[in-house]
Symmetry: C2
Subunit: 188 residues, 2 copies
């Protein structure tokens, strides 16, 4: 499969950036995600499908708590991507300096963001390297009229040092995914 | 859950419109879908998650064939949405007047579209009213430099008669979904 042939259209299939958060037994964490899709046609019962990679601490907190919150970022919240998306909650308390509260599912709701949705997991699908969680939105609100933050914009405004840091990180993650994505437990 | 509070951001979580097609035992069909997400970080092993509603014939053809093709539409292919998205392949041969060929998975590849990806299903998740299929892209290409077709644009250019036809159709589907979305077989 020659990725160059579909690269441009694939760019339309990632969501705006969001901090996906979860909480389990007193441990709160959040990571950055770009694979979030609407998953309901019933307006008063909104659902999302959120893909989280298994290497991430947030993934494990979601599996345990069967809950997560999606906090979409404003176009200007570039710094927050560095804060939450470039390191692991296993190494440091990533939310230590970020104002948040617990939502109805106990998942962290960021006080500063574009919009949030607090979700209960109603199903999950193994992708080998990641899990796709189907979540029912139990609470949500829009906190700003700003535009959302997309990856293609972020990439143009990131400091050069972050670009290099990111490229190193994603290269390592691609190798882990390549190894694991074939090992899918069907219907799990 | 007050949908108005998250309506605007939810609008960013649908994909461009695509004709999702499948083939099983000589029966070819295609439907319109807007819930398609990228699902791999490994460039040479692209994957998609495509949500299809269980009432649709294409859904059943995908379940049987474990394959589907996603044909993203050009911004000008408004007529094709009416052709494929407003009626069921159970009632008529929707592809009768549309030029296509069989892809490697046998799924119909439209000769006229923005870009296509032919996929093998590697996992599936029950959503009650819909199934989310995780597909490995086995072949794909971009056929046009046009922009993709998004729902918000389509809605502004659709003839008034189609708007009414669509609203009637989606209203019925929302009621079916409302009834079924709670009945989820976990891990299926």
């Amino acid at each position: 499969m020659d990725y160059d042939k579909i690269h441009a259209v694939m760019g339309y299939l990632w969501s705006p950036l969001a901090a996906v958060s979860a909480s389990w037994q007193g441990k709160d964490n959040a990571q950055i995600a770009v694979a979030i899709a609407a998953a309901s046609i019933v307006p008063d019962r909104p659902r999302l499908i959120v893909q989280l990679y298994k290497t991430n601490l947030t993934h494990d907190l979601v599996v345990k708590s069967k809950s997560f919150a999606v906090n979409f970022l404003r176009k200007d919240q570039v710094e927050l991507v560095h804060e939450l998306g470039f390191s692991s909650g296993r190494d440091r308390d990533k939310l230590a300096s970020i104002p948040y509260r617990a939502g109805p599912t106990r998942s962290p709701i960021l006080k500063e963001c574009l919009a949030y949705m607090d979700c209960r997991v109603v199903n999950a699908m193994d992708g080998g390297d990641m899990t796709a969680f189907l979540g029912e939105v139990v609470d949500g609100d829009t906190l700003s009229e700003a535009e959302p933050l997309f990856w293609h914009h972020l990439r143009t405004v990131m400091p050069q040092a972050w670009v290099q840091e990111w490229d190193t990180k994603i290269k390592r993650e691609i190798e882990i995914s390549r190894e694991r994505m074939g090992k899918i437990r069907w219907g799990a």
